[in-house]
């Protein structure tokens, strides 16, 4: 298993009560697996069906594999402008 840190912001940070959480996922885990692990944490019920995830500061689809050392972030619906 890999221990991965995930950055949280805005309404998600509030829901999880933290700006970073750690999830344990298999070595071969994908973005979608990370989201699944987050969903099982307290506060995870607020996540939409397919939340946005950024890996190394780029939006990344669910099928892409993730590795320790990457910067993983869960992105709430953006509201800039």
């Amino acid at each position: 298993m890999n221990q991965l840190q995930v950055l949280l912001f805005a309404s998600y940070a509030e829901a999880f009560g933290a700006s970073t959480v750690t999830v344990a996922v298999p070595e071969s885990a994908t973005v979608a697996d990370v989201v699944g692990a987050l969903r099982r944490l307290p506060g995870g019920h607020i996540l939409p069906a397919v939340p946005l995830v950024a890996v190394d500061r780029r939006y990344t689809p669910g099928l892409v594999a993730v590795h320790s050392g990457q910067e993983i972030a869960l992105i709430p619906p953006v509201a800039g402008g």
């Binding site: 912001f9 950024a54 780029r58 992105i75 709430p76 619906p77 953006v78 509201a79 800039g80 402008g81």
Partner: protein, 147 residues
């Protein structure tokens, strides 16, 4: 020429206009987003903008670079402010200049639409009754804890 930034500094619209306009440009467009007093019928006293700053900075720059690929000779300056803003404060300024007006108008619109879809910035509105609410453009506003 492209310059983009995410910053807590107040935005100087006149400075952005001066930055993009040159002897070679014939058209300049400036788009400003400002804090307004009413949203969904509730009276707003201010907005707290926050960002995933490193990614927002990179994503905003990528948007400007994609825009610049569409026309030769564009001059683009974009600033988005974060922190606590009051009524009428400028949250975002997009200045674009070019020899001709069509590239300017199309680029200005391209950037604001892409920014609103892609740049990881969030806002929490503060209402006259002290309530706070995260703004979620994909649905209705999401209730959050009152501080």
């Amino acid at each position: 020429m492209i310059r983009t930034s995410i910053s807590e500094a107040a935005i100087d619209a006149a400075a952005l206009l001066a930055e993009v306009t040159t002897d070679a440009t014939g058209a300049t467009a400036l788009f400003l987003g400002t804090v307004r007093e009413l949203n969904d019928g509730r009276a707003v006293t201010g907005i707290e903008y926050s960002a995933y700053t490193t990614m927002a900075t990179e994503e905003l720059q990528r948007i400007a670079e994609e825009a610049a690929l569409r026309f030769d000779g564009l001059r683009i300056a974009v600033e988005h402010r974060v922190g606590t803003l009051a009524l009428r404060d400028i949250s975002v300024a997009i200045a674009v200049a070019h020899a001709r007006r069509a590239p300017v108008l199309e680029t200005s619109r391209f950037i604001i639409e892409a920014l609103k879809q892609r740049v990881p910035i969030w806002k929490r509105e503060r209402y006259t009754d002290g309530d706070l609410r995260w703004v979620d453009p994909t649905t209705q506003a999401v209730d959050t804890a009152t501080p």
